[in-house]
């Protein structure tokens, strides 16, 4: 029983630390793509945490929506944003060449 509790504490502690660390990295890493990947990892870790909190229903929702759907949205938005930025840059280059 004792070891179980200690193990559980260890597990919970690791999980919580991992959550905070992932969130911190996701919000501060210089590269946006890395940030999003870290955020998806954060979402999956959240799903684990929900499991530990005896909330399998939320764990499912978090994995599917919080990590999956949101992650997909973020990635596609980043891709389109980069496209846009490239196009704007090209326009600017064309502009300067014209001058």
């Amino acid at each position: 029983m004792e070891t179980m509790t200690v193990l559980q504490w260890l597990l919970d502690g690791m999980l919580v630390l991992a959550l905070v660390w992932l969130a911190w990295r996701a919000l501060s890493s210089p590269d946006l793509f890395t940030a999003i990947v870290l955020f998806i990892a954060f979402g999956l870790m959240m799903a684990l945490a929900w499991g530990r909190l005896q909330a399998p229903d939320i764990a499912l929702a978090e994995a599917a929506i919080g990590a999956g759907l949101t992650g997909a949205l973020l990635l596609s938005a980043l891709a389109r944003s980069n496209d846009l930025a490239d196009r704007i840059n090209d326009d600017q280059i064309v502009d300067t060449e014209k001058k």
Partner: protein, 102 residues
């Protein structure tokens, strides 16, 4: 001190972390991530503090609330991303212009 409280504290920590990032970072995508992290923090607090008597069968009400919250959060994220792309298309930037002097 039990593990439930640990998660609640983590939730508060995530909320604060997100709030800090929301204020500090200029890039819109980063702000959207920050909002999502804040949301996750709130959800953690809601569920971990919701089951008030540890060990008893989990309270379904916070679960329903959090699932609703996750759906709302993803809708908000989708809207925010769409808006960010339109801002970028119009202004060429993924930042909000500094507040003009009011």
């Amino acid at each position: 001190m039990n593990s439930i409280l640990l998660y609640a504290l983590a939730g508060v920590g995530l909320f604060t972390l997100g709030l800090y990032a929301l204020i500090v970072h200029a890039h819109l995508l980063r702000k959207i991530l920050a909002i999502n992290v804040m949301g996750s923090g709130v959800f953690l607090v809601l569920v971990s503090l919701g089951g008030r008597t540890p060990g008893a069968s989990p309270d379904p009400v916070p679960h329903a609330m959090v699932i609703t919250g996750i759906v709302v959060a993803v809708s908000a994220t989708a809207l925010a991303l769409a808006l960010m792309l339109r801002v970028q298309a119009k202004t060429g930037q993924t930042l909000l212009p500094e507040e003009r002097l009011e």
